[in-house]
């Protein structure tokens, strides 16, 4: 029997519901702020002003967003193929190894615009390789991708410690990090773009990786909705049985989707290393791979949504740092709580308010139509 359904207009689906989720997250966060004895409204003002109030705030927000765009896209590509890649953290971290080797080898001989493409390829290749093993195990052995990718996060962390302490750090150094890259591996900043609008920026790490992230967002859109491969991935993602019926090889599609996902996760390592710190340091990914999961969910697995969600999380990172600075009662951990609430309401509880919104819509528009027609019939 057919199931009747209530459909929402697109603007409510993609606009209203995320806004409601976000509002609820901030209201609950507001209570948390009140609990520690601060004024939630002032906190909100500081947060937003910190993120968007000044030129450098905007630059920092977009810098953080850059990394999240990559990791969000990575999660989304796998999710379209029905795979939950939570190994972005490890795939991004291990990509630092490729970047480190490329930069240390070429930064003294090549200009940045030659080192950069090589480093892009190296980071993507390392990330893809790190995703390949879990993908192969899933496709051939049925080992669950969630388990294997999370295990590989730990392996990546250990490998990176080994590499950084072993051969990547300069022999004389005590710090587990590479030497500072020379000009040949330092990416140009984009702060001048913001300065065009009249803002003043003393120093901020926003760099051309942001543009690369936007290009990748477009390419991911192209891949998912406009190519045969994307079609096959979506088919498998929605229904493995239908994919089998359509003659799509399960092994092939899982491995390809995971490698693309891993490559995107790998590319997120470019931003903090070549773009900001100009070295590869211990734990430089610092959780961005996991934030990508929330970004992808909140962006509803669509590149446009992911870019917007990444900017939101960039704002929370940057504004949160300002908040911790301005309001001593609010520590860094409190910021993490606020971020957690956003993830909770926008990601995990994404559909919590949907039924109510649907009921609201159903009770407004169609009913009036229905009653009118019924009256017409009676007369």
């Amino acid at each position: 029997m057919s199931t009747p359904y209530a459909k929402l207009p697109a603007w409510a689906d993609y606009g209203l519901i995320p806004v409601i989720n976000l509002a609820v997250a901030f209201i609950v966060a507001g209570f948390v702020v009140m609990l520690v004895g601060e004024n939630p409204f002032r906190a909100a003002v500081i947060l937003v002003e910190g993120a968007f109030g000044r030129g450098s705030g905007i630059a920092f927000t977009l810098f953080y967003a850059t990394t999240f765009i990559f990791s969000g896209l990575s999660v989304a590509v796998a999710a379209h193929c029905g795979l939950f890649n939570i190994g972005g953290e490890g795939q991004g971290y291990i990509a630092g190894l490729g970047i480190g080797i490329v930069c240390l080898a070429f930064d003294s001989v090549l200009p940045w615009w030659l080192t950069f493409p090589i480093a892009i390829v190296a980071s993507a290749a390392m990330g893809a390789l790190w995703a390949l093993i879990p993908a192969y195990l899933q496709a051939k052995r049925g080992s669950h991708i969630v388990i294997t990718t999370i295990m590989f996060n730990f392996i990546a962390a250990s490998v990176m410690v080994y590499a950084l302490v072993g051969f990547l750090k300069p022999p004389s150094s005590m710090a587990p990090q590479t030497r500072t890259f020379l000009d040949g591996a330092q990416l140009p900043k984009l702060n001048w773009v913001i300065e065009l609008f009249g803002a003043k920026i003393r120093s901020a790490p926003l760099n051309i990786c942001f543009l690369l992230a936007l290009v990748m967002a477009f390419l991911v859109w192209l891949l998912i909705w406009r190519t045969r491969l994307g079609y096959e991935m979506r088919t498998y993602g929605h229904s493995p049985k239908a994919a089998r019926y359509a003659g799509i090889s399960e092994t092939r599609i899982i491995i390809i989707a995971m490698m693309i996902s891993g490559a995107l996760a790998g590319m997120m390592a470019l931003n903090p290393t070549m773009g900001d710190q100009h070295n590869v340091a211990l734990d430089f990914v610092s959780g961005a791979g996991f934030v990508g999961i929330a970004v992808a969910l909140m962006g509803r697995l669509h590149p446009v949504g992911i870019v917007l969600a990444a900017i939101l999380f960039g704002m929370l990172y940057q504004g949160g740092a300002e908040l911790a600075f301005e309001m001593p009662a609010i520590s860094r951990d409190m910021i993490v709580i606020i971020q957690g609430l956003v993830i909770l309401f926008a990601g995990a509880l994404e559909h919590m308010f949907r039924p109510y919104v649907q009921a609201l819509f159903a009770s407004f528009s169609p009913r009036s139509v229905g009653i009118e027609a019924a009256k017409g019939k009676g007369a």
Binding site: P4, L229, H238, S239, R244, Y245, G247, P366, A373, K377
Partner: protein, 510 residues
Amino acid sequence: MAQAAIELIGINKSFGAVRANRDINLEIARGTIHGIVGENGAGKSTLMSILYGFYQADSGEIRVGGKPASIKTPNDAIGLGIGMVHQHFMLVDNFSVLENVILGAESDALLKKSIAKARSELERLEREYGLEVDPDAIIEELPVGLQQRVEILKALYRGAEILILDEPTGVLTPAEADHLFRILKQLKEQGKTVVLITHKLREIMAITDKVSVMRQGTMVATRVTKETTVGELAELMVGRRVLLRVEKGEAEAGAVKLAVKNLTVKDQRGVTMVDDISFDLRAGEIVGIAGVAGNGQSELLEAISGIRRAVSGSVMLDGKPIDLTGAADPGELRDRGLAHVPEDRHHVGLVLAFEENENSILGYHDDERYLRGPFLDIDAIRNDAKDKITKYDIRPADCRLKTANFSGGNQQKIVLAREMEQDPGVLIVGQPTRGVDVGAIEFIHKRLIAMRDQGKAVLVVSVELDEIRSLSDRILVMFAGRIVGERGPEATEGELGLLMAGVEQREAAE
């Protein structure tokens, strides 16, 4: 005239812009069996869901036993003595009958007392209504007919005076269906009221006292069953005259297109589902495979179409072998001219979350026509989808609409259009009209016969005996994984029914 058990007055219900029920008035007399028929999407299920408390009507009134009733949840409905047997059983497979019956009606935290009480109550109900089931049997070990009995017992145990059955015979053999009807008659004699929702008009004629017909959300007519005919009901349902049996000429069978020899297939658990089956399928004929669901037909189809790996046996397509025990792949078979309309269009034949046009290339997405290099040729795909929509009268005619939003009949047309328009030499079709309304059934049957007349080989698997008999040039009956008999289209229903129940084998052995 008996007092009304249920009265529905001016019920309206809309989902978004869809008006599922408009101004429905219905009166069901106490102690009768009342049929409700209508095509898919006519609003039968919605109406019953309102009565059972799954949905709230936008306006209108429900009266139970003459008193206005407010039914907000299924619990309210149960409290008013309304019970429902769903099309898909709501049973816990690994629980016993007794445990399922008390589920949700336990009287205290420790089950011992509840079970003891339920056991004696169950025995009384079983005696009274002829509903014998072993209370300690595990559900998954029971045949479907008995599982349904458990559902009925569940409703009666909760004190149901009014029993709603939603498409109860879809999964039953003819014999099981007959038994069900005897039970329903007995319930009626005991003063219970039965509401039977179905699209099978023959059942309506056989068992109901009154029948109401729904079409496009409205109640178009209520008739006393004795005073109406199948033809009239079908016409009321569809709104025009319908051919209940397709006209077709003699088959001109040609060369063997598909030769199946000693095919054996096992399911995931390693149980042999298809046991050493051999048959030929010729050009220009329709071969029907009849059988009760679960006797290996699904596995047979999956094996032949390359979805499921066979254990042993050989299959020749156009005289050349296909490696069904090894590397055969649905894509390869498609390239060689074997098209497959799968039984389960929701999970296999279609991706419901896709737009219609995306589904119209599923399986053929490798075709150069739909591609420009690695990219999909969106214009070509959409134009192709639009052509098929026109040719197969798929409604609504919107190739960008999500497939889940089409009715069952139109979804099936999407699959058929895709597979038939590839001009395959062999077409295998599983349950061509399951969940499809009467108007579309006629269309689909005509198309299948047109395929045959073009000299294609068509294999149809269906649990609808009427369908098999009206379409097939030859009928193979499957029972427990084997072909237990071959008959011509003139075979009677009783004869096929016995074969389907595996009876003839036993008789032959005696």
